[in-house]
């Protein structure tokens, strides 16, 4: 279970494709991050058309859409992110302006540390 839940990523919704690629490459360098892709709000990957990329984006969309609906029901404000823990690892889905960021993280690392590093990259671009 993640210990950290207050940090939020900045938007990368207007990033041009090369800038987006650079950000994703930086995210992939975070220890524990196996995959990072950005999709539109229909769950269609913008930069990764592989089967694994599409599968991650499709699954991530289900969770973030569910979170948005659940959040509206309970009146908890804007949806920020979802962390999904299963026996294979952890998936993080961030709701950005017009896109979703999907990140798959190994199970053998503290999620809070990974999330802190991700937030720093999203906030500063570095």
């Amino acid at each position: 279970m993640a210990e950290q839940n207050s940090h939020q990523p900045e938007s990368m919704g207007n990033a041009s494709p090369p800038v987006l690629r650079q950000l994703l490459d930086r995210l992939l360098k975070v220890p524990g991050v196996i995959q990072a892709i950005v999709s539109d709000k229909n769950g269609v990957p913008l930069d990764d058309q592989s089967d694994i990329g599409r599968s991650l984006a499709t699954r991530g969309k289900v969770f973030i859409d569910g979170a948005i609906l659940a959040g509206k029901t309970m009146g908890v404000g804007e949806t920020k992110s979802v962390a999904v823990h299963d026996h294979n690892g952890r998936m993080l889905v961030y709701a950005l302006d017009n896109q979703y960021l999907h990140i798959f993280v190994t199970k053998d690392i503290r999620l809070a540390l990974v999330e802190a590093a991700i937030s720093k990259i999203l906030a500063t671009g570095r």
Binding site: V62, G71, V76, G77, K80, H87
Partner: protein, 196 residues
């Protein structure tokens, strides 16, 4: 089950909690009164639907939905799930320990209550109608009706009241206590109105 949920709610930062069957149909909750039956039903079915849609292969063990003003945490149980509404400053380590302790107990209770619907709104509705039946009964038999009503409830067992069929059984026993044919007819007619 509600006692367990109320204990979980004592963890600082937990606003409310619910346990649901995996299909989201049967829920027991301990949420503040502001959250009515519609909120509970909707959140249970939303979480259930999300889990079912997510994948057939990898069922999530834990979901953390993070928001501007709080979190919704869902822990999978055997046969269902536990969902908590929390503030953002909740101590997750403390919550994890509490959930680890509660999980096996909740799974046992969930298995035991799998056939029992204990939606508090349904219970409240049944209780209100039961009270109306009691008044209608006393109107026909007089003050002794209060005592007779309680005796019949004891005979049926209060735990038996889960749905309208149980109220029909109650009416059936009550009418037999009314000697006057006219009174019996009036009571039955009034009961039909109450139950319809």
């Amino acid at each position: 089950m509600r006692d367990m949920l109320q204990n979980i709610n004592k963890v600082e930062g937990v606003i409310g909690s619910l346990v649901s069957t995996v299909d989201g149909e049967k829920t027991v909750h301990a949420f503040p009164p502001l959250f009515d039956g519609e909120h509970i039903r909707k959140i249970a079915t939303t979480i259930s639907g999300t889990i079912r849609q997510s994948s057939t292969a990898d069922t999530p063990e834990l979901l953390e939905m993070r928001y501007q003003n709080g979190m919704i945490i869902t822990r999978m149980l055997r046969g269902g799930f536990l969902a908590l509404l929390c503030t953002n400053d909740i101590n997750m380590s403390l919550l994890t320990i509490s959930l680890n302790v509660a999980k096996p107990k909740l799974e046992i209770l969930l298995a035991e209550s799998a056939t029992i619907s204990v939606n508090p709104d349904v219970v409240k509705n049944l209780t209100e109608r039961m009270d109306k039946l009691k008044i209608a009964f006393i109107r026909q038999v007089g003050p002794v009706g209060e005592y007779l009503f309680e005796e019949i409830l004891k005979k049926l067992g209060t735990a038996a009241f889960k749905d309208d069929d149980d109220l029909v059984d109650l009416v059936d026993l009550l009418k037999d206590e009314i000697e006057s044919t006219v009174g019996k007819t009036e009571f039955i007619n009034e009961s039909i109105t109450i139950l319809s």
